[in-house]
Amino acid sequence: MEILRLSLLGGLFGLDSTAVGQFMVSRPVVAGAITGWVLGNPVLGVAVGGILELYLLVSFPTGGARFPEGSTATVVAVAVGAPFDGAGVLPLAVAVGLVWGQLGGFTIGVLRHANSSLVPKHSDATHAGGRVTTAHLIAIGLDFLRAAMVTASGVVAGRLVFPSALGSWPLDRAASVALLLVGGGVSAGILLHDVGGFRRRRVWFATGIALGIVGTRLL
């Protein structure tokens, strides 16, 4: 029953990420909180979603580009980690999410190829009105099924290996979070690179760091 609920959630988030609306409730920072709430572990959900969001900050659903699917990855990552406790849960759940995000991205590519043969060709538009609507709705349905199946398979596979992988995790909680932040630092660097680079933006960036540090002292 829980797998069904998670698949439904993954399917809905999968739709939001490209096919329907793009309100971005499927972004890890939101999807993680919702999945954690559904599974009764909102703290892990928010933490996993926050870290995956940091990693996927520079991954956008642009045009025909291949991108990791953050929505299903977040549901899978939170779902495999939620029943467990300990310092290793967060890094292992994030690792599962990063791997499953690649698989989700691959299935998006497969579906888009399938859609090519599903939609009516403009050269054969006889009675195309009805066929356009049917093909479009079928494609949306297939996307939902795809995301739901990616989620279900990820949760099942992840829960099989997760307990043994958790073992006796060698890092403490602070070091485990720091390990993930090292990778997150790369995303932050890429983002600064994209918006002008350090030399051009150093004053804004340094001011931000100072405000961030002061904020942690005040709040």
Partner: protein, 250 residues
């Protein structure tokens, strides 16, 4: 010949624009989604003549691509052109002309600036000690104010200006907005870095070596750009897997 463009048909096209990427494919990209969004209005305009309806659907089934939010600009303008009785070639050329700019403007403004900016804002709130729900709610509300505003504005501009929408886009100066938002994005990014360093459970608490490693990661991203992302993700997963194996063997 002018054709009736009812309020219902316009509202239906706008509502359907939220599904424009539903059948995204490598052959026509947004083409079939564009035809799907236009369909109720086309039926209203050409429903009496099945051949003309088929021809109108066919011209919107052709290859089209743009940023999904700014596709509403082309959608509104195409509705206006159809209602004004523009010929097939004019509509085709118009869509060819706008798809590139609507893609690049939207990618720069939304995907590369607005989305990461609001996400960083949400993550910063979380690291500053706000609850996860507050951060998530901040992201959903702020992001969608911009998202829905852009979609509605774009559709209205397209519908009003029709073929002259290029001039309205130039006046709106979307690339200027992107440039103005970028320093704020950098300020927020700096704020997040500061909060991650100084916050509870942050890098400063983990120890100086973690701070140095994170700094090295940041420099790698800064120098390598997007090429650095995949190796960094692979390295992270490989490190976690190795540590897990060490833990299991101990």
């Amino acid at each position: 010949m002018r054709r009736a463009l009812t309020r219902t048909a316009v509202a239906s096209a706008f509502a359907r624009s939220f599904l424009i990427q539903g059948s995204w494919n490598y052959h026509t990209m947004l083409g079939s989604g564009f035809a799907f969004a236009m369909l109720p209005a086309l039926k209203r305009m050409f429903g009496a003549d099945p051949d003309e309806l088929d021809a109108s659907v066919a011209r919107h089934l052709e290859h089209f691509n743009a940023h999904p939010y700014l596709a509403s600009v082309a959608l509104g303008a195409a509705l206006r052109l159809e209602a004004d009785g523009a010929d097939q070639e004019t509509i085709r050329r118009f869509k060819l002309a706008v798809r590139g700019p609507l893609g690049s403007l939207g990618d720069a403004l939304v995907w590369a600036t607005w989305l990461p900016g609001v996400a960083i804002g949400a993550l910063t709130l979380y690291w500053l000690g706000f609850s996860g729900w507050a951060s998530a709610a901040f992201f959903v509300v702020v992001y969608n104010v911009g998202h829905l505003g852009l979609r509605a504005w774009g559709f209205r501009v397209g519908l009003d200006a029709g073929q002259d929408v290029g001039m309205r886009l130039r006046d709106a100066d979307l690339s200027g907005w992107t440039k103005r938002l970028q320093p704020i994005l950098v300020l927020l990014l700096g704020g997040l870095v500061g909060a991650v360093i100084g916050g509870t459970g942050g890098l400063a608490e983990a120890g100086v070596w973690w701070l140095v490693l994170a700094g090295a990661g940041f420099v790698a991203g800064l120098l390598g750009g997007h090429k650095a992302w995949r190796p960094a993700a692979v390295l992270t997963v490989a490190t976690i897997a190795t540590l897990s194996v060490i833990g299991v063997l101990r």
